[in-house]
């Protein structure tokens, strides 16, 4: 399998720069994802609360 993926020369400089960028961008991506997940949980809770209140009123 190894050499078939590697039929194209990725280039040393291109690997090094993208490993660095991939690391930084990856951290940003994970951070955004975590924030979104946390916010999403709060929003869902808010909605549920709201929903409960509405139901209670009815």
């Amino acid at each position: 399998m190894r050499h078939f993926l590697a039929y194209l020369d990725p280039g040393s400089g291109s690997i090094i720069i993208q490993v660095i960028m991939g690391g930084v961008l990856g951290m940003g991506y994970m951070a955004r994802k975590s924030i979104a997940a946390v916010l999403g949980r709060f929003r869902r809770k808010d909605k549920t609360k709201g929903g409960e209140k509405k139901e209670a009123k009815e």
Partner: protein
Amino acid sequence: MPRNSKQTQFLPASFRDPAGHIFRQDGKIYRQINQSGKDDYELMMSSGLYDVLVKRGFLIPHKETSLTKLGIKDSRAYKAIMPEQIDFISYPYEWSFGMLKDAALLTIEIQKICLEHGMVLKDASAYNVQFIAGRPVFIDTLSFAKLSRQYWHGYRQFCQHFLAPLALASRVDVRFISMLRDHIDGFPLDLTKRALGTRAKLLPGLFMHIVLHARSQQQYQKKRPAPKNFNLERAKISQIALANHLEKTVRKIAAPKQITTWGDYYKNADHYNQSSFKKKGVIIKDYIGRVKPKTVWDIGGNDGTFSRIVLAAGAKSAVCFDFDYAAVESNYQQLQKDKNKNLLPLYLDLSSPSVNTGWAQQERDGLAERAEDTKSVVMALALMHHLAIQNNIPFASMRDYFARLGEYLIIEFVPKDDEKVKELLIAREDIFTEYSIENFEKVFLAKYNLVSKDEVKGTKRTMYLLRRKK
């Protein structure tokens, strides 16, 4: 070897990948998958990746065929597939800015879908994309591999094939796209960096993927990158993040100013009065009705107005070439709104058409080599005076080239006392003593039979339908 030969003909556009290659047999294109490409191919089919990509119209569908039936006796062969057949193969140096940008976005979207399925695109060549019915479609079924590296193999290629020409076209000059013909592996990043100058620094994505990337290439040219242990989750995250960033960068590259000023050529142009324009349309419709062509090559077809007329008249497909990037772009954008999408807008400088190029001059075909010979029509409207007077091309040479491109020719003769020809002669001496309708007929009818000759009423122009002599 003729295109419809029963013999198997290996096509030299795909020799680099050991996982398989394409070949032609009996006029049909097939792809051989080698034993070495078996695991990746089967993973693509079983992981659901193929179904997702085909369903969304991103990847060309295929059918598996029998190796024995095709008479393949290659010990490396595992399977053969027949992809949906494509009428006309075009190349990135013939695309408009918008086409190249859409092809880039498709490639990156596919990479993201691959990552969701535990796979990657093992390359990011712009030649893996073709335009079918107005949309970019990925055609290399063997470009998919199991995710097994921390980094993306196709990153350098993506930057060279897509990001660099898009950035140069947007920020320096749109004509950079046609210069890809001289750089079939994309623009080298150091060259791009130099040509962009400080303009690259205005967009962080370009600064990262072109300027820093070029510097890194220069600095680590002969250094072996430290091997990293493969971690599937980390590889996925960093590659998705990279793909997202590349996508964001591509989206932010604005269309070049040169092509955004395109107005409605035919509506605004004073040389076309509506009634003679309509008369020309009626003549063309009549010609198309008589020939019933499979394909029409509308050369110098501007924004595709007459290409749409030939499609409405019953031609199965049309390729519309023009020298003006703004017209090609306008044509492509209009195509997105059209119902009949069997039109392919392309950039072409007919005074120097696409040539056979790449390794051994065989990887990419020239224009004439891609001509579908039978029942095809070459249409050259309001073109001949540009060729004859602007480019000094003799009638006989014009005739011979058109005859190579197709069996039928629809050609418009524009005489010297036409306003457009007068404009061309405004600053130069008239050395074109041979340029007359009599001489045109004499030269063209030596190799063509006259099928029809019609004057465009209200103008001094004449239309011809000619059929090549056998």
